[in-house]
């Protein structure tokens, strides 16, 4: 027996959730699907393949005030802003949810990042299993699955009668408290088939390729547009700087990209990663080597956003394939 919610009950449930949570759900903005806070269940756009951006911004916002700096009567005070309120990300794809698992390892490792940790704690993830695969999808090759429930609090799977509701965690249990669920014997649809990509030995292959000219060749066409980093659910490069405006001074953490030319430039002008190739190596090195060495997993969830949005078609699947071949034979035609 499975638990099921009908389409109309789903709407009612979401409207009930809105009283308790800030509900962040896919919406249609111009021609894009984006996760945005919604006011009504009707604002939600369910017919999305994948959103243009991952929902990572709701746990790791593009701009985060780490603390404000105020001076009163000659005394300086540093205060972090309160992060109250409960968030619920609705219809998060399993791959995007997996992105949070990868971010957790970074931001929750001691010393835990308070901002991320508080948001994480206050956020419930309602997953939505994928019923079809897009050409860029390859989650199954990097440890995920279209119907993977392991990183969400509740997983919804669309069926003819409505949505199967798989409650995974206590948080999920709390979220479905107000949902009208019915017990029914429904066979879950089989997940779509994805073309597998080999990741075998990729960590070693990437290490081997460290000083290979492969990176410069690959970088020939790379424009360092940073799009890959900004759409990625798992990228987390950031910058920290102060900002003064209207008398308010605050220390901010903002998204950044390792592809930006000045990313590593130190005061005085020296840049340790001066070439496009060195920066591209950093990107793939981080995903396929450094992060795995630090935390175990590949820093990729297989959502394929970087593949679809790369203006010059740098395809991480091709890169992995090339790296595996490197040392075996020269790979250059594709780079």
């Amino acid at each position: 027996m499975s638990q099921l919610i009908s389409r109309s009950d789903l709407t009612a449930w979401i409207n009930a959730l809105l009283a308790e949570y800030t509900v962040i759900a896919p919406t249609k903005v111009d021609s894009l699907a984006l996760y945005q806070p919604v006011k009504r269940a009707d604002d939600i756009f369910m017919d999305f393949g994948i959103t243009a951006l991952s929902p990572k911004e709701w746990l790791f916002p593009p701009t985060e005030t780490l603390f404000t700096i105020t001076t009163q009567d000659g005394t300086m005070k540093l205060e972090a802003p309160p992060l109250d309120g409960k968030n619920l990300i609705f219809a998060i794809r399993p791959c995007d949810a997996r992105g949070f698992r990868l971010l957790d390892k970074v931001f929750l490792a001691p010393p835990a990042d308070t901002h991320y940790a508080q948001r994480r704690q206050n956020t419930t993830l309602i997953g939505l299993a994928c019923s079809k695969a897009l050409p860029q999808c390859f989650c199954t090759s990097v440890g995920g699955a279209p119907n993977d429930a392991s990183d969400v609090d509740v997983l919804l799977t669309e069926v003819e009668e409505g949505y199967l509701v798989n409650i995974v965690t206590e948080k999920g249990q709390a979220a479905v408290a107000q949902a009208k669920l019915i017990e029914k014997d429904v066979t879950p649809p089989s997940p779509p088939n994805l073309k597998p990509v080999s990741t075998e030995g990729i960590v070693e292959a990437t290490l081997r390729a460290y000083n290979d000219d492969y990176w410069e060749r690959l970088a020939d066409r790379c424009t360092h547009c940073n799009v890959c980093a900004f759409v990625c659910p798992a990228c987390y490069c950031f910058d920290v700087r102060d900002h003064i405006n209207q008398g308010k001074t605050e220390r901010l953490r903002c998204w950044d990209s390792c592809q930006a030319p000045g990313f590593t430039r130190v005061a005085g002008g020296y840049t340790p990663r001066p070439t496009k190739g060195a920066r591209l190596r950093q990107r793939f090195g981080h995903k396929l080597l450094y992060y795995p060495q630090q935390y175990g997993d590949l820093l990729c969830v297989g959502c394929g956003r970087c593949i679809a949005s790369c203006p010059v078609n740098i395809d991480i699947r091709e890169v992995m394939e090339d790296l595996q071949k490197l040392g075996v034979k020269s790979v250059s035609a594709r780079a």
């Binding site: 003064i244 405006n245 209207q246 008398g247 002008g269």
Partner: protein
């Protein structure tokens, strides 16, 4: 690097009467990096300056803001003040709380105080980003160039030469003397023009400090004050000046006769000629466009069929010292000078543009300058005034004023300044030449503002019995031997018609041909008519906006002889003030390139009006911009042109201006 001191000036009650000084001081105390705040009754007074100096030393101030009157008043004063206390004079910023605040907001003291606080805040933010700047000493060439050998240029050249400085005088024509040499007498004294001019011309020629280059033109000027490099084109005379004795055989025997420019076509000259007998230098030149031998050579060079023109070469054969030199060619001379006086003079308006005056069809409609030549004893008629058409003596002469002056139709809104006076002079001279002559002078207004000028007009009316008619001429046409002049007497409000023997058009003054092009190569500005623009019409009337280049005479605007001479002397003094300095001091507020940011797109170079951007190749082979600090005037146009903020302007840097903007909101 911080420690900013703020000094708020009361300026008696000028500021303190409107702005609450105590509030401004209290606010300044809280501004970032401000470590000391004080007020002064009068900051510019010796007591005030001493207080500032003492505070700098005692408080170890590193930057100073003085909230007082406009920087245009006392920035220079206070720079000296802080320098005396050992600070770099450029680590000072003035907050203008008088002209821009207390004086204009005296009706709202609270708002004025608030504004004064913000102005101080902006100045504090700016001064925090000031950098110490240093002037540089630059050597100079102690030699002057005068362009134009008319009376203005002659005067300037002589004054500088007499002061002991070498001068190069460049004149386009084969002789110096300019327009004044064409005149018969000068108003209002009726001195003989050449009698007073010729000695000066000779003095130029003989002066040990003057290098005279006639038949020569300035082709290009590069460099900057103290260090100009000039290219001068010396046109070939085809006569060896070192051999020529000015005996005159050549021009007497030359078979080719052409209307003489100097006499405005009223008489002939030869193809080898000097413009007039007193020419300086008195070396003839061969007019290549008309010389028969040159034409022959060209014919042969073209290889055309047909009858060959005669070879001529009479001058060559007859020249006693064998001075004719066919091989002589144009030469480009390069000279270094420290200052330049531009005195390129004028030409007269082309009256043929006036259809109603016959558009040049009537030979007896002549210009004022043509009449000068007829009046001149050394002119084509040896001083006999005759009609060009039939050689008879005119009895009724009509003068028409403002031909090409004060006439917007012709694009000449300005007054040519001298016409009223020379018409009066010519009426007097005509009467002297022939008591039967009756002059009619059509005028719009009589402009006679000079010393003795009004009396001179009176003399024309009373002694020479010239009849002044106020009004414009509508039409001139030939009727038999007479020229019928139709106009209106606007005082009586009725039409006038005069049957004249001779009509004299008082053609207006316009800049010499080529003046615009010269101004462009000198990088000095000129107005819509081509007159050179003064650095300031009142206070810097003989300086161009380019340092080291000075102006004199009718190149600036129509002027009479005393005015031109005065300007020539004035320009000379200004030039001497440059030349007499041991060295020049550069303004440190110039542009500077950040070589790491420059991509070498050279938008700065395209924008720069002073050729101050050069290129240089960096160690890694990149071609980037570099500022020639000597040429840079500090306008900052290049800074705005630079998208990548590689270009900056010392003293008004992007950081400084941005700090001011941000201070308004931070």
């Amino acid at each position: 690097m911080a420690r900013i001191g703020v000094f708020v000036c009361h300026c008696g009650s000028n500021i303190a009467g409107t702005v609450n000084i105590a509030q401004v001081m209290a606010a300044a105390q809280t501004m970032p990096l401000v470590t000391f705040v004080a007020d002064n009754k009068y900051s510019c007074s010796e007591i005030g300056q001493t207080a500032i100096r003492e505070a700098i030393l005692k408080q170890k101030l590193e930057r100073v803001v003085i909230a007082a009157c406009s920087p245009q008043m006392h920035e220079a004063t206070f720079r000296k003040t802080v320098a005396q206390a050992g600070l770099n004079p450029y680590l000072l910023e003035i907050a203008n709380i008088r002209e821009h605040c207390s004086w204009v907001h005296s009706n709202d003291k609270a708002a004025a105080t608030k504004k004064a606080i913000e102005l101080v805040k902006m100045a504090v933010a700016k001064v925090a980003r000031h950098e110490a700047l240093f002037t540089k000493e630059i050597g100079l060439t102690k030699k002057a160039l005068v362009i134009g050998g008319g009376i203005s240029g002659i005067q300037a050249a002589l004054d500088m030469a007499n002061a002991g400085y070498p001068v190069i005088l460049v004149e386009r024509e084969p002789t110096i003397g300019g327009r004044m040499a064409q005149l018969d007498k000068t108003f209002p004294t009726l001195d003989c023009s050449s009698c007073i001019l010729t000695p000066k011309m000779v003095e130029v020629a003989q002066h040990p400090n003057i290098t005279l280059l006639t038949y020569a033109e300035v082709k290009s000027v590069r460099g900057f004050v103290g260090n100009f490099e000039v290219e001068i084109l010396q046109r070939a005379r085809k006569v060896d000046a070192s051999k020529c004795t000015s005996c005159g055989i050549c021009w007497q025997k030359c078979p080719e006769k052409i209307p003489a420019e100097f006499n405005l076509g009223l008489g002939p000259r030869a193809a080898i000629y000097t413009p007039f007998p007193q020419a300086v230098p008195n070396i003839p030149s061969i007019d290549l466009a008309h010389c028969r031998y040159i034409k022959y050579q060209e014919f042969v060079a073209r290889g055309e069929e047909g009858k060959k023109p005669p070879q001529c070469r009479i001058c060559e054969r007859l020249c006693p010292p064998q001075a004719i030199d066919w091989e002589q060619s144009d030469q480009v001379l390069v000279e270094k000078v420290g200052a330049i006086v531009v005195a390129t003079g004028y030409q007269t308006f082309d009256h043929t543009r006036y259809g109603e005056f016959g558009a040049g069809r009537y030979p007896d409609v002549i210009t004022g300058i043509q009449l000068e030549r007829l009046l001149s004893a050394s002119g084509p008629t040896e001083g006999e005034v005759v009609r060009p058409s039939d050689g008879t003596h005119p009895k009724t002469v009509v003068f028409v004023s403002c031909v090409g002056s004060r006439d917007e139709r012709m694009g000449r809104a300005y007054c040519s300044n001298v016409c009223c006076m020379y018409m009066a002079k010519q009426a007097i001279l005509l009467k002297e030449h022939d008591p039967e002559v009756q002059s009619y002078i059509f005028y719009i207004d009589i402009r006679a503002g000079g010393k003795g000028y009004e009396e001179f007009i009176r003399r024309a009316q009373e002694e020479a019995r010239a009849i002044y008619l106020r009004g414009r001429i509508s039409h001139i046409y030939q009727d038999g031997k007479k020229l019928i002049v139709r106009g209106e007497d606007s005082l009586l409000g009725r039409p006038v018609e005069i049957a004249a023997d001779l009509v004299v058009l008082a053609t207006g003054i316009e800049p010499s041909a080529g003046a615009k092009e010269l101004a462009q190569s000198l990088n000095i500005s000129y107005d819509a008519h081509g007159f050179m623009v003064e650095a300031h019409p009142k206070l810097r009337p003989v300086e161009s906006r380019t340092e080291g280049i000075f102006l004199a005479g009718t190149a600036i605007a129509p002027n009479d002889i005393p005015g031109c001479v005065a300007q020539g002397s004035a320009a000379a003094v200004k030039a001497l003030a440059v030349l007499s300095r041991p060295s020049l001091v550069s303004d440190p507020m110039v542009a500077i390139v950040d070589p790491l940011r420059c991509t070498g797109c050279f938008a700065c170079q395209r924008a720069c009006a002073f050729n101050a951007i050069d290129s240089q190749v960096t160690r890694d082979g990149k071609t980037i911009a570099v500022v020639n600090e000597s040429l840079c005037k500090g306008c900052g146009l290049c800074v705005s042109a630079c998208r990548g903020v590689a270009m900056n302007l010392k003293g008004f840097s992007q950081q400084q201006l941005l700090a001011e903007v941000n201070a308004l909101w931070r």
